[in-house]
């Protein structure tokens, strides 16, 4: 309680020194001035809950940078990626993008993976009028209504509805027509939105919703939930889930013997090879959304070359070995930006924004055209069904026919096998 004056002064000096250090250290970093290469800046989830996706996306973007530089770069300059780990935490995003823009002075910016990590960057982009390419954000622009936001996930102009359009369009074609629907999903951002869409479709199709519940992501055993669904005897079961719960629900459905005409819909995770090879034949009959599968109808120019490069390095990077789901789109969203720069011969964001709005792009995920809200002008959320899965080998998931496309019409590669179980 009785400290000497000298010590107090020292304590204050320490505090002062620390504050100076804070400010000084914050300025420190791999900062560089706008130099020769064209710099593309972003934050990406390289640790934390979304790291699996973030790392795969980064790999795809590095392949794009390599491809672009091999072809002579943009505007005759090399491209370089400048990125930081957002740790899957939205709190880090505003800092990262201000650093990218005001200290690293990057020329172009693209988003990190997922709605939660796109949204916190939006106000910064809006205050500086920058073109912002989004990677797998769901309905982000609904709130911000920002003209220069473009999003590469093919959800379509009305993401919530388009997400499950395939599932419900196909349900209409079943004979006899289904009457009842169960909806179940996780207490989290994507699944809540997907469920809203599913409810809207159900209303339009006059389906009776007999079960409509969410569960917490921490659920250990899904049997009680699946049993409760089973008890309502639904014709259709629409699931909006994340990877661990997708597995849990699927296993519980098999164990309990869930009966439904169609089962699946919005299950995240069943697109990943690591999960597919664990579930194997259990997947047969599931209808689920997807963005790209190795079907003949989706054989876009450049996709196979890209996947070959990706798969060659995926093992070392510890990411999804096949890389069908996210990586082609991560490649495409920078590809779109690069094509815009080349076409306009400009790095002026106004010009770039106007160009992206008015043109169609040829990418490894096919032709891409953006609507007014920055989403794909037309939806290309695929509805696929697992068919003929015999064992747990990785190879069979690279074969056409293991996941046939049922919707949209333009890309159909097979027919629906139903009921799921009766």
């Amino acid at each position: 309680m009785t400290r000497t004056g000298g010590e107090r002064i020292r304590a204050w000096a320490l505090a002062g020194a620390l504050i100076v250090a804070t400010i000084g250290a914050a300025a420190w970093g791999p900062g560089a001035r706008a130099a020769d290469p064209i710099r593309v800046g972003f934050g990406m989830a390289l640790t934390g809950g979304l790291a699996a996706a973030g790392k795969a996306a980064l790999l795809a973007m590095e392949i794009w940078a390599q491809d672009t530089n091999d072809a002579g770069g943009l505007l005759g300059r090399e491209v370089a990626l400048v990125y930081y780990d957002d740790q899957s935490n939205p709190a880090n995003v505003p800092g990262i993008y201000t650093k990218l823009l005001s200290i690293d002075q990057v020329d172009l910016v693209v988003s990190g993976y997922g709605t939660n990590l796109i949204a916190p960057a939006m106000p910064i982009m809006m205050s500086r009028d920058l073109v912002f390419m989004g990677l797998f954000g769901l309905a982000v622009n609904e709130q911000f209504d920002y003209d220069n936001y473009f999003q590469i996930m093919p959800a379509g102009p009305d993401p919530r509805l388009d997400w499950s359009r395939g599932f419900f369009s196909l349900a209409e074609t079943l004979a006899p027509k289904p009457k009842t629907l169960a909806i179940v999903g996780a207490d989290a951002e994507f699944s809540r939105n997907a469920m809203i869409g599913a409810r809207a479709h159900a209303e339009a199709a006059a389906l009776e919703i007999v079960y409509d519940r969410t569960y917490p992501p921490a659920t250990v055993d899904y049997s009680p939930i699946v049993r409760a669904i089973q008890a309502t005897k639904p014709n259709l079961v629409y699931v909006a889930s994340y990877p661990p719960d997708s597995v849990g629900i699927l296993r519980a459905a098999k164990e309990i013997g869930l009966k439904a005409r169609m089962f699946g819909g919005g299950m995240v995770g069943l697109q990943y090879a690591s999960i597919q090879t664990k579930l194997g034949p259990m997947l047969n009959g599931i209808v689920n959304y997807d963005f790209w599968v190795p079907e003949p109808t989706l054989n876009f120019p450049g996709i196979n070359e890209f996947l070959a490069k990706y798969q060659a390095v995926a093992g070392d990077a510890g990411v999804d070995p096949l890389g069908y789901y996210l990586p082609p789109y991560a490649y495409s969203y920078v590809q779109v930006l690069g094509q815009a720069v080349e076409a306009t011969q400009s790095l002026d964001h106004k010009i770039l924004g106007a160009y992206i709005h008015g043109h169609e792009f040829d990418t490894v995920v096919g032709k891409v055209e953006f609507g007014a809200n920055g989403e794909w002008a037309r939806t290309r959320v695929l509805l696929v069904q697992f068919q003929g899965i015999e064992d747990k080998s990785l190879e069979q998931f690279t074969r056409p026919g293991s996941r046939v496309v049922l919707y949209p019409e333009e890309w159909v590669s097979g027919t629906l096998d139903y009921p799921y179980a009766e």
């Binding site: 917490p216 250990v220 055993d221 009680p224 008890a231 690591s274």
Partner: protein
């Protein structure tokens, strides 16, 4: 949509889940209830157990539960090591309440991040012949995926109970925090007894981890979700009673299962923890306390 069939199934599912919760909680029942060592890193070690089982299963195709059993000596050794550090740094200084807690908190974080560094944040699954199979008793279906951990948890509970009641060291462990005098009369060195007990507590994490990955996919930060549940069970079980832990875990499992089935799964965790808060407020000695 209430039916008797659904009720019966919900209770059975809850009991099975409760069995697994018992396995996760027993280590803490020993450490917290018997030794007064508040090891909040215990669930993180359970996840570590899941990963060791996964590693062996993926590399050699060994049954995950057997792998979990094989790793118990390693976990025991880790436990002994941790207790030595804990004792020397905190218990002896009488500083366990603040810094000791922070120590385990940091440990939890280190285990989690170490797993991420080695395995990444992907969900990991295991293969075993019984995963996906179901046995039916009338209209009650029991997934083997849940039944195997349940049976194992029961064996673990009984084995530990017998050990504590029948062996000299077991009785010493039961006495160590409550009855110093009895311990002295038995001629046992409390530090050594606690070291042994903490080793056993951590060894259970290896088995519990194996059960966890049999039940469903596992990722490194999952342990946090169990901290609250596990403490709820240990406290409700009466702090240090093996039988009480079993009953409390079964009760929590059934409550969660009934909530998930009839009310809405969203509220299942809040119901469980609300239960804990309520219990702490009105009956802190646990439901089956002394």
């Amino acid at each position: 949509m209430f039916t008797f069939d659904l009720l019966a199934n919900a209770i059975v599912a809850g009991v099975l889940l409760g069995g697994f919760y018992t396995a996760v909680s027993l280590g803490l029942t020993i450490a917290f209830g018997r030794l007064d060592v508040v090891n909040i890193a215990h669930p993180a070690f359970v996840i570590l157990g899941s990963y060791t089982a996964y590693m062996v299963n993926a590399a050699f195709g060994v049954d995950p539960v057997l792998a979990g059993l094989a790793f118990t000596p390693a976990f025991f050794a880790i436990g002994v090591g941790i207790y030595r550090v804990y004792h020397a740094s905190f218990e002896r200084r009488g500083d366990e309440s603040l810094r000791g807690l922070a120590f385990f908190f940091g440990l939890m974080f280190i285990v989690e991040v170490a797993l991420i560094l080695v395995y990444g944040v992907d969900y990991r699954l295991v293969d075993a012949p019984y995963i996906g199979a179901t046995v039916s008793f009338g209209f009650v279906g029991v997934p083997m995926r849940m039944l195997v951990p349940f049976a194992l948890a029961l064996i673990m509970t009984i084995a530990l109970q017998q050990y504590f009641v029948r062996t000299f060291m077991g009785r010493a462990i039961m006495a160590v925090s409550q009855d110093r005098l009895a311990l002295q009369l038995m001629g046992a060195d409390p530090t050594r007894v606690k070291q042994l007990a903490f080793g056993i507590a951590l060894a259970t994490a290896s088995l519990a981890g194996a059960m966890l990955i049999v039940i469903g996919p596992v990722e490194p930060s999952m342990g946090r979700l169990y901290i609250g549940r596990v403490f709820a069970i240990v406290v409700l079980g009466g702090m240090g009673s093996v039988g009480g832990t079993l009953i409390a875990a079964l009760l929590l499992g059934v409550i969660e299962s009934l909530t998930a089935t009839f009310y809405g799964p969203s509220w299942a965790p809040a119901v469980a923890f609300g239960f804990l808060l309520f219990a702490l407020a009105v009956r802190p000695q646990g439901l089956f306390g002394r």
